[in-house]
Symmetry: C2
Subunit: 218 residues, 2 copies
Amino acid sequence: MEAASKPRPGANGRGRRATRVSGDDRERAILETAGRLLEEKPLSEISVDDLAKGAGISRPTFYFYFPSKDAVVMTIVERLVEAATGSRDEVLATLAEAGPRAGLEKALENLYAAFRSRPGVVRAGADLRATNHREAQELWTQVMEGWVDDVTAMIEFERDRGAAPAGQPARELAIALVQMNERVQYATLLGETPSLEGDRVLDVLIDVWLRAIYGSAE
Amino acid sequence: MEAASKPRPGANGRGRRATRVSGDDRERAILETAGRLLEEKPLSEISVDDLAKGAGISRPTFYFYFPSKDAVVMTIVERLVEAATGSRDEVLATLAEAGPRAGLEKALENLYAAFRSRPGVVRAGADLRATNHREAQELWTQVMEGWVDDVTAMIEFERDRGAAPAGQPARELAIALVQMNERVQYATLLGETPSLEGDRVLDVLIDVWLRAIYGSAE
DNA sequence: GGACTGTATCAACACTGTGTCGAGAAGTTC
DNA sequence: GAACTTCTCGACACAGTGTTGATACAGTCC
């Protein structure tokens, strides 16, 4: 965060090739190296030296660009989360237009697609959040809160217009459903055992959502 | 595991107080220290030295009893999991006798109760599983598989006798529901945001389970 | 009661990884 | 070409892990 904003060479419009690579390039190289390594091995097995070497610099020089290994990972995770969250408005529109099943399908598919391409980054994010790291926890809290708010609103809307029956408080139901999605998709993404097959996740989750929201118990 | 079984002084029935504390006592002291510290701070902030000091021994002596910090934690986690899983038969009986709602209530309450008393240990277990650690992953896989099997059988039984409608394959539904429980209860236990209040977890989860199993979509 | 054996203990070491400091090189600005 | 900013890294200090080898102590066996 503030890590990434320290070196700001601004518009360095050099026409001749520089003997020395620019700071921006170095920063990018570090991020790319981290991204690549994360798909190969867990965060705990990647050292600052690995990142520095991968970016063609020495370890102390690494610290010129980022305050720590975690800061690099946070930058990557933040960008991925941003990309994944970006399409929210679009989804809400679909939900309103095309009805619950199609809307949910689109929402979950969007999310899953965003994370599917970078399982290593997802795992690293989870590691960070588990191990302490306030920033990571806050980031994920915000993301989860956002989704919970959306789902809560959706459930209340459906209940108000009589499409869904009453039941547990909307927000509580929303929390359970959103957390289910997180866990189930994470397990599938990382190939845990047991976990759902990649091509079954959406069907199963959507079914539970619809039954939980629109079905009535017993 | 093999760590805990190395020092086996057997029956050391001394009548006079020993100038030196016995190996068993040391081992217990290490486990107790770890258990205590885990409720104070995350695993990552506990060093082998902390455990050794807590047990009144030097760091090298620690390695006489356990091969690593993780081995200590694994021992503690295993015992907790064992205690939590122990009551399964009893639960299955309740389920058969008292019907789905009461059976589920009992099952989830049992689980939650077992883990509720040691949030630090639960967190440490999750940390271990996240960070690598094959043993921890295998342990949790076994536990999850056990629950998934039980729930799968239960769903199939209910469908066969006509109490529950057809739907997604029983095992896949079971996976989603079991993983939802894991996530939701973990979040509550550790006081994440967002998460359900401790006294609301069971109500909400049971509702989703019943609707997912007995309700029909749309 | 002395040699023998297994259990237990720890100072000292080797190693891996983190993060900092200070000296200086390389490019930019005036 | 002096001053300034950006960038680089060798050398250091530190924290933690895990190992080695010497040693102590407690119970035998004879």
